[in-house]
């Protein structure tokens, strides 16, 4: 049977890569609510994790267990020459 507690899906355009969107779903957070700190407001992995922690929801931290690990390994965004 399908699970009841489904991760939220944003309905607005968010500036985040597929892997960040998938990480948000794994963390159980609505990426549309997360302020991106990357170039042009791009959402980074760190933004998601900070948001998940500050939300302080215990189920959220649980959801991030393990699965998040795989995708968290430091993924630096390219350095934009300015």
């Amino acid at each position: 049977e399908p699970t009841v507690s489904e991760p939220p899906v944003p309905d607005e355009r968010v500036f985040a890569s597929p892997s960040k969107r998938s990480l948000a779903r794994e963390l159980g957070i609505d990426i549309g609510q997360v302020q991106g700190s990357g170039p042009g407001g791009r959402v980074m992995a760190a933004d998601l994790r900070a948001y998940a922690e500050s939300a302080g929801d215990p189920t959220v931290t649980q959801a991030s267990d393990g699965v998040a690990e795989q995708t968290t390994a430091e993924r630096e965004e390219p350095v934009v020459v300015d």
């Binding site: 991760p7 998938s22 934009v80």
Partner: protein, 474 residues
């Protein structure tokens, strides 16, 4: 699994083995679900048997012959003879290889295959009717189901595909010889792909279209380029006319059309191809048994997890709505299977690219500048005409362009429209750029191989920033 009248049980039942269904079934099995795939006709669905693949095979064949026959300025003199039966056989071989590949991949991933037509009995039971009538029945009990029954060609009043000279795209792609002349009703992407291909193979093509240009879904400069190339190939267009009927005449047919003002006209051809759109297939399913009702347009409504209104039933592909494209079907199939397997997947792709394999090719992704403005962005547009591209010129091509649409303040890439050789390949980079939230600077700062058409993507991004090298900046 036991066959016969006894009920078999499966975790995931997938109905329809097109690019939506077979992909869903494979992913479901990969994720550990006991998965059963039912197909009533042929593995690969419309796409592999009657759509994408056969059309592209013929388009390729037509291109090879046409290019060689029209390369005098390159110093190539050829007068190719075309053996359509042989081309048909070659196409059939390509299709066979791919469809048997699909079957093998399903088996290798552990998908159980059932041949027959599936219909719902209730939310956890489907009845499979094997082969023709009286070939036997089977009942399958499922935890979850994915509907991937696709679409079929739309008919219009006065034209019945059961009549011999009234052809659907599926029938046309089975032709054993090219018609000397053909009337095509509809100048959408399927009508335009097939008209262009046939014109290259020597058919006199007359296109009748209700609207006032080809490819109504595309911007004017794109439609114009494709139309005028088709006109150069000898295609005869009649816009603003709706086809109202046909009758036998001469050796073939006479198609009657009517304008909004009631003016009529007649066009002759060996046959008439009706390519006015496609219709979702739901009538085989007995949806009422699970309380589902299609929308006014015949589609099954789904949420962003590909779920229908019935909690344990998903719908993907053409039957689940526009855009009716194979890769959209597959993308949805993957999400449906993952959600069924309790993965946190969602249909949250930013964009679904689309290509039209006319001459020149068209590919688009994301927003046009107009759309971007309507969405509240402040769009900036960059363009690179292919006549300034060394690769295009060295391929004997000088028409077409790459256009990139971005948000002026953030530089974020929002869309792209590409017209030219291999546009369908080039759009992949733009789609990735959008998914990655790449900026103009990101694309312009990526070194692109010389000489390639892909450089035009970089150049268009530079042009949008006002610093293109090979085009004048605004």
């Amino acid at each position: 699994m036991v066959m016969g009248d006894i009920a078999t049980a499966t975790d995931l039942l997938v109905i329809g083995a097109g690019p939506g269904g077979y992909v869903a079934a494979i992913r479901g099995a990969q994720l550990g679900l006991d998965t059963t795939l039912v197909e009533k006709d042929a593995y690969g669905g419309a796409c592999l048997n009657r759509g994408c693949i056969p059309s592209k095979a013929f388009i390729h064949g037509a291109d090879v012959a046409h290019e060689a026959a029209n390369a005098e300025d390159l110093g190539i003199h050829a007068d190719p003879a075309i053996d359509m039966r042989q081309m048909q056989q070659w196409k059939a071989g390509v299709v066979d290889q791919l469809t048997s590949g699909v079957e093998k991949l399903c088996k290798a991933n552990g998908v159980s295959l059932l041949e027959g037509t599936a219909a719902f009995e209730d939310e956890h039971t489907a009845r499979i009717a094997h082969g023709g009538e009286g070939q036997g029945m089977e009942t399958v009990e499922f935890d979850q189901a994915i509907i991937a029954t696709g679409s079929r060609p739309l008919a219009i009043p006065g034209f019945d595909f059961a009549d011999d000279p009234v052809l659907s795209s599926a029938e046309l792609l089975q032709m054993e010889s090219t018609p000397d002349s053909l009337v095509v009703v509809g100048a959408g992407y399927i009508g335009m792909e097939l008209s262009t291909m046939l014109a290259k193979l020597g058919t006199d093509v007359t296109v009748v279209e209700m609207l006032d240009d080809v490819l109504p879904a595309y911007e004017d400069d794109i439609a114009r380029t494709v139309r005028s190339r088709a006109e150069d190939l000898g295609v005869d267009f009649h816009f603003g006319e709706g086809a109202t009927g046909w009758e036998h005449g001469g050796d073939g047919v006479v198609v009657t059309t009517e304008t909004d003002d009631g003016e009529t006209a007649e066009y002759h051809g060996d046959a008439v191809l009706v390519a006015v759109g496609r219709q979702p297939v739901t009538d085989t399913l007995e949806l009422e048994s699970i309380g589902l009702e299609p929308t006014e347009n015949g589609f099954i409504e789904t949420d962003d997890r590909a779920r229908t209104a019935v909690e344990n039933v998903f719908a993907v592909g053409d039957v689940a709505g526009e855009p009716m494209l194979a890769h959209k079907a597959s993308a949805e199939g993957i999400v449906a299977a993952e959600v069924a397997a309790d993965e946190p997947a969602a249909l949250d792709q930013q964009v679904i690219p689309a290509a039209v394999f006319t001459d020149p090719e068209i590919a688009t992704v994301g927003m046009t500048s107009q759309k971007a403005e309507a969405e509240g962005f402040d769009p900036v547009v960059g363009e690179m005409p292919l006549r300034a591209s060394g690769r295009a010129l060295s391929m004997g091509e000088s028409e077409g362009f790459v256009r990139i649409v971005a948000d002026e303040s953030s530089g974020m890439i929002l869309g792209g429209q590409l017209v030219g050789p291999n546009a369908a390949e080039l759009v992949a980079e733009v789609a990735l750029a959008i998914e990655m939230s790449a900026t103009l600077e990101d694309v312009a700062g990526t070194v692109h191989t010389h000489p390639t058409l892909a450089e035009a993507v970089m150049e268009a991004a530079e042009n949008a920033q006002g610093q293109a090298i090979h085009t004048l900046n605004r």
